[in-house]
Amino acid sequence: MTIETAPKQSWWNRIAHPSQFVAWSRPLLWPLTILTAVLFLFGLWFAFFNSPEDYQMGDTVRIMYIHVPTAWLSQFVYAIMTVSALGSLVWRHPMADVSMKSAAPLGATFTALALFTGSLWGRPTWGTFWEWDGRMTSTLVLLFIYLGIVALWRAFDDQLRAARVIAVFTLVGAINIPIIKFSVDWWSTLHQPASVFRPDGPRMPGSILTPLFIMFFAFTFLFLTLHLKAMHTEVKRRRVMALERQAAQAGASA
């Protein structure tokens, strides 16, 4: 950046160069926000006013409309972090670092919400707020991994160095998650009685699928919007840190 002050406008630079990325993605923010809001409005209306109660679960099926999307997001966000980690390690893509860092707290929150809604759904359905079944337990372990990653980001002083180290850890986590799922499922079949009510067991009629799909997309777009905004902030934050460092050096040499 000291040799040429104006970077080329190639497609690679558009997504790799931080300020160019911010420039072309900023106009996307308002459309994404509006789309998210509209999806949530429709989803909530369908969830409460235009869908019947489930023949087995009664009205508590409405919790599924927010439990399934948050559970899906908990996995999807980790997949995004894994792809970003690969981009960071393999291509040294600068926006990959930013993407990874911004996604972590979002993923942790959605995972916690999946556990929260799952727990509240479990109480009327299974009778307890918590059941050590395979899925909930794996989600709990995933939450711990997310929180560990968030703690890691905060522990490093140098965020640029942190990015690659955390990318390695994210990949190790990604490889481990299927193993964790498998072991937890094995463990829960050991200790569970034969019949366990599975919340999404019976086939779902269309009138229940509609709100589910809408909420699914609503939550996904919520994540994408927040993620994009957080990436912009992170780019600015890095510039702030660089400028503050320069100011300190200028002050020292003055």
Partner: protein
Amino acid sequence: MTAFSALIGRELRMAVRNGGDVLTLLLFFVIVGAVVPFAVGPDKDLLALLAPGIVWIAAFLSMLLGLDRLFRADHEDGTLILLRGADLPFSAVVAAKVIAHWLVAAVPLIVASPILAVLLAMDMGGFWKTVLSLAVGTPALAAFGAVGAAVTVSIRRGGLIAPVLIAPLAVPVLIFGVGAISTGTGPDQSGAALLFLAAISLMAAALCPFMAALAISSGED
């Protein structure tokens, strides 16, 4: 002597010389196991039921607490940078360190586990299974631990975060480790659990040195 075995020898000699922290880990292992009856009561049936889990938790915590000694000392005095520039590939360096760490931190636990089994009223058949499951499973703990130690090596007081990072990843080891001793009241699947445990240990031993080496190199560029 090859560089690899020389490195293992160096690690072992240094561990023997500063014997303090290794004995402390062993003591921690025994104490955790011994303290549980104070917490849950001395009922033999209850203890026997819980014994496999308690032994594994004690080993789990011991291995996690001992993570820091893998890289921190070498990082602080610059040896790690020298080792990175050596002829031996850095992942082999890390593998040598992990092997030495296992020999120093895990083998005492394995040898001491029958003491815990006795304290926790485990039946005699369980003793051998305990030793075997710890022998097969602790390499996985050491390997995952190496990744945690490598990721946190450049952080001041990173030793606090490493166990938090590794614990979720080591859950399968805990599950299959306990399962290899006893699988509860249903049909006995401890053989299957031991095989899964062995699979995890082999995979971890193969992959984690590379990942740990990558983490250290990425952190120091």
